[in-house]
Symmetry: D2
Subunit: 140 residues, 4 copies
């Protein structure tokens, strides 16, 4: 399993008139966390794109238990548990720094699309990076 | 079933460097569509809040089939199929105007939270509006 | 002078914990209004870009007098007063529908950048559209 | 003069189809930088608000010279040069880390609004913090 903790501080831009983070903002935090997760194993998204592969999101899911508030610091943990074949599944867990309670959890799934716009299997450059981290292939 | 079609035009603010709408923006479109859906049956969100009830999102889900592009006009259809007991489930379907292909679909679920911060059953003012539209209660 | 009124309804996504529209959102409304202003005189931004010209913003300015609130409907008026030479200046005025008080005003300035990334004078296709509307060239 | 450097990394959420940061996003970066600037001299925005004062933006200005790109790291420097009387003026300078060229510069101005919604002079708790940093009062 590969895991990365990305720290985010909440600003006015994120918070709605209920005084909690607006629900779509977590998808932005997820993106930042997964970009850093991939970078941490040598997979810069810019590099992947230079190799002619893009990773569009094909599904997203969020469960909101408790809302983060202005000036709070949160950890956005992203996790990849297995080697992708045709799609990459990433899980997310959001909690306040120094606390265990999960505020928000969710996942995203990504396709591998080549420069002809066709969905393909995970390219070797990506699989190699995952294998180096000890991940094994399961599922579809 | 209650249904509402909300029209959205795509601008630069919505579109990422892949040339398609960034994935979190659909949650913003969903919010606009459901706000208009509720208003269309006499449930202004501001009115609901004046009655001491807020409707925070407790889960969201999106399936992204094809990305909308700059200057395209899309329909964001929201649907409520049954009377909520403790949570309100709303489905969404996004398609290009004048086309049938669904670009994105998804749902949100909402709790009813009173002014003490406690989750409650759907208040009478809300149930009455749904009943007037012919909805029946099912599920939890 | 060319003018266009673009209608916007305020949703939760726009409003911060002061209960008013977050200040950067007006720049998004400005973009929607100017895109429709240009379209109304036959200048679709997508068409301009197909001709190898992009119109990046080189300056923006906003004066905030009073904040719009959730579920209010606002008019975002954009105006072009003269034919651009090397830059396009657009003014904006935001007010509640059916009211005269201006909530927010501002402007943006845009360069004309060709497909080599070089700033150029306003292309003929753009000038022709402005001339048809009776605008005359002034200033730099 | 008080100055603070806030680091931001650019993600997909920020970048438009020109491949550069969308122009309203800089106002979000400005907010994060000034929040940290104020916190660095003991003025947490949450604390200020608990004292019954809010600091709404009354004007914003940006000059865009060059656009930041996906996965670039930028510094958002905020500066306060004098003690505010009735309004707080903050300047911003955005540059790539390790480079001197300024990509974007701008300013915001803020009123001091009390809990009755009335604009007031800068409260003592705020002036004291600025004086401790050696700032002197000038201007209106």
């Amino acid at each position: 399993m590969i895991s990365h903790d990305h720290l985010v501080k909440i600003y006015y831009k994120d918070v709605d008139q209920m005084g909690i983070v607006y629900y779509s903002r977590y998808l932005e935090y997820f993106e930042a966390s997964r970009t850093e997760l991939l970078a941490s194993i040598g997979l810069g998204v810019t590099d992947i794109e230079k190799n002619g592969i893009i990773l569009p999101v094909i599904s997203s899911h969020c469960e909101y238990s408790r809302g983060a508030k202005f000036e709070q610091k949160i950890t956005v943990r992203s996790k990849i548990s297995s080697i992708p074949r045709s799609r990459l599944h990433i899980d997310y867990y959001v909690f306040l720094n120094n606390e265990r309670e999960i505020l928000v959890s969710g996942y995203t799934e990504h396709a591998f699309i080549n420069d002809k716009g066709v969905a393909v299997r995970a390219p070797k450059m990506i699989l190699d990076c995952f294998r180096q981290e000890g991940l094994v292939a399961i599922g579809k």
